[in-house]
Subunit: 198 residues, 2 copies
């Protein structure tokens, strides 16, 4: 039977998303085919726009829309606190939980030699430079309590030891082995309250 | 913190896909943001193209690309056999399995009053008209062995009874390669009913 090349192309694009296998990608492509015309056009437009409108803040690495960093450019935030996260979406989970109003620094991942992620591949140099430039009283390492997260926290805390700035990590209210991304707001809030000096 | 409207729009589009919740949709939107520019453009293009290039065959309901039905317009197919399926992708699964070379008829769903799917909402009238128009020796109902599938098969077989055309359904029993140990009671019962002389 003759195939549907357009549908196969779309399946291929879906299968590039995390956690989407060939069968799921195919079901998604069929779902797009069944969508209302407007929904489909909106979907295509959103994908294009995400790339055009969103960029990374050159200072902290958070995603920004229309060139204004949601953290660095917000004058109401507490500028003596710096919260280090692995990914942009971790910072947004923290914001949703509320309670923290300092600045952020996005590493872009965690140290994981097995995945080829070495310290040089992360925004650790720029973090150290930001802290050395002065102004911060405390650096909070808000990384997932996994092997990679712990390794990264330890690595960073050693680098920052000479600066004299207080370095803390989130308290263990977070269940070990879980991803920060999936933690509920209250758990994140409790973890902020229970942070400890490394 | 200021949000990312483009990313939220994209999350919303993803969450309209089957089996995709808010959190998964968000992860997918972030994954699109991290994609290479070309991959993202290809993705947006594929979504738009699927709607422009693919249409339904007015006779059998299969999806066709560039206006040529993969079944009805294929002169090499056996025209005395008609296989009735719920969705286009079921026909493609059957094609991948091989062995069947007749024509198809896509119902567009299964009768399910609880989901608001009544016989009038499916392509059953057009099926009956196709069969009444003559030429078919056998109609094979290839529907899932679920309550909805069985109901639909029964409904169609009654409508076709007067035409004198042989109406069959797929055989039920143990799936190939499966362990008897893991089969459910109903499947084992059906397998006993459908036992064959070796």
């Amino acid at each position: 039977m003759k195939g549907l090349p357009s549908l196969e192309n779309l399946s291929l694009s879906f299968s590039k998303l995390p956690g989407v296998g060939a069968k799921t990608a195919e079901r998604m492509a069929y779902a797009v085919l069944r969508m209302e015309r407007e929904d489909r056009e909106e979907f295509a437009k959103s994908i294009a726009e995400v790339g055009e409108k969103i960029s990374k803040c050159p200072t902290c690495g958070l995603y920004e829309e229309n060139g204004e960093c949601p953290s660095c450019d917000d004058e109401t935030r507490e500028r003596s606190l710096l919260c280090v996260v692995s990914e942009d979406r971790d910072a947004r989970s923290i914001e949703k939980a509320g309670g923290y109003h300092g600045l952020y620094h996005v590493l872009g991942g965690l140290i994981s030699p097995s995945k080829g992620l070495l310290p040089e591949g992360l925004s650790i140099d720029s973090l150290v430079n930001r802290v050395k430039a002065g102004g911060f009283e405390e650096v909070i390492l808000a990384l997932s309590p996994t092997l990679e997260g712990e390794t990264t926290s330890l690595y960073i805390s050693k680098l920052l030891a000479s600066t004299g700035v207080k370095v803390t990590r989130l308290g263990y209210g977070l269940p070990m082995g879980a991803s920060l991304d999936y933690a509920d707001g209250l758990t994140i809030e409790k973890a902020f309250e229970g942070r400890r000096k490394i």
